[in-house]
Subunit: 181 residues, 2 copies
DNA sequence: GTCTATAAGGGGATAGAC
DNA sequence: GTCTATCCCCTTATAGAC
């Protein structure tokens, strides 16, 4: 169809792969399935993503970018005190949890699917966990609270990502109580 | 070697499969790998477990039996009041969490690997989650506390099963505080 | 030169047959 | 226990349309 390079090609493929990987899991989705859903040729996919691991890493990086933007928006919409910002972070996870297409945490899910993985996607996943945990620690320190508060808030976030049928609002209310709001 | 059926055969196979499935994930482990590790013939495995789904269901049922026994032992070792029993249940999960070979919750992991599954193993997994949640609800009702306590304790248990590097003791102490001990 | 479509390589999956 | 059938996996290579 197009004689010139399709600038939307890579993004369209990655968008398709992201939806499939997140919904069904990385292991359950084959490259052929991504190709068919994206409506592209095999050649094009492998030029942009030389392997499935590369595609999975790009998938996780894309989700991370979305999550970071969403978390930043939550912080921007909160009061400027550490307590409000901590609650805003928990509430943001809860809001994500309530989405109809919610299927847990993409990074924790990946590490469950590939427990011994130390390739690029695993690094992206572990970096996200480390960075978000660090974000909590920093805000708790700014609040002047003992590290125990960070441990507890992190437990709440872990629980929200597990999502075995609990009401996310319980966690948000609890976090508010924890930080003294 | 043996002319009569090996009574330990089925159990040996299931034991091997349990270790492999739990450590590496169900999807990552092939039937050939189970056969080789169990040191049995292919026909013997398929005689006892006609499909991989049947083997996975038996694996989850076996883990459930272990978990139920362990939870019961924790209850038996606790005081007979609902508060102590609730803490004992949380502490039992924390103790499991501290094991070196801990790799998360077998049931939650399976549901992550097969999110749309409604076959036998998925039913075993979901039944476990439903029953353990019900166990918490019952004890909280016996304690005379509002359902919110059960929601919160369930969040702690979910968090313990996620286990992204938190100290399990934090959850146990928190549960003790929650039930008023 | 850039895309799609198709075929094939090389391996491993589940499962069945003897 | 071995051997085979069938299928799907990831990946590469080839051929054809614009």
């Amino acid at each position: 169809m197009a004689r010139t390079a399709d600038p939307t090609g890579r993004d369209r493929i990655l968008s398709t792969a992201t939806a499939l990987f997140y919904t069904h899991g990385v292991r359950a989705v084959g490259m052929a399935q991504v190709i068919e859903a994206a409506g592209c040729g095999k050649n094009m996919l492998y030029r942009h993503f030389p392997s499935k691991a590369a595609l999975a890493a790009a998938y996780l990086a894309r989700v991370r970018a979305q999550r970071d933007r969403s978390a930043q928006a939550a912080l921007d919409g909160a009061w400027n005190d550490p307590a409000s910002r901590l609650v805003a972070l928990v509430a943001e996870v809860a809001a994500w949890n309530r989405r109809r297409d919610y299927r847990g945490c993409a990074f924790r899910n990946y590490l469950t699917e590939f427990p011994a993985g130390d390739d690029e996607p695993a690094r992206v996943a572990r970096d996200y966990l480390r960075d978000t945990r660090h974000q909590i620690d920093t805000l708790v320190a700014a609040l002047g609270s003992p590290p125990l508060l960070a441990d507890r808030l992190w437990l709440l976030i872990d629980a929200l990502y597990a999502a075995t049928g609990s009401d996310p609002e319980v966690a948000v209310d609890w976090s508010r109580e924890l930080v003294g709001l």
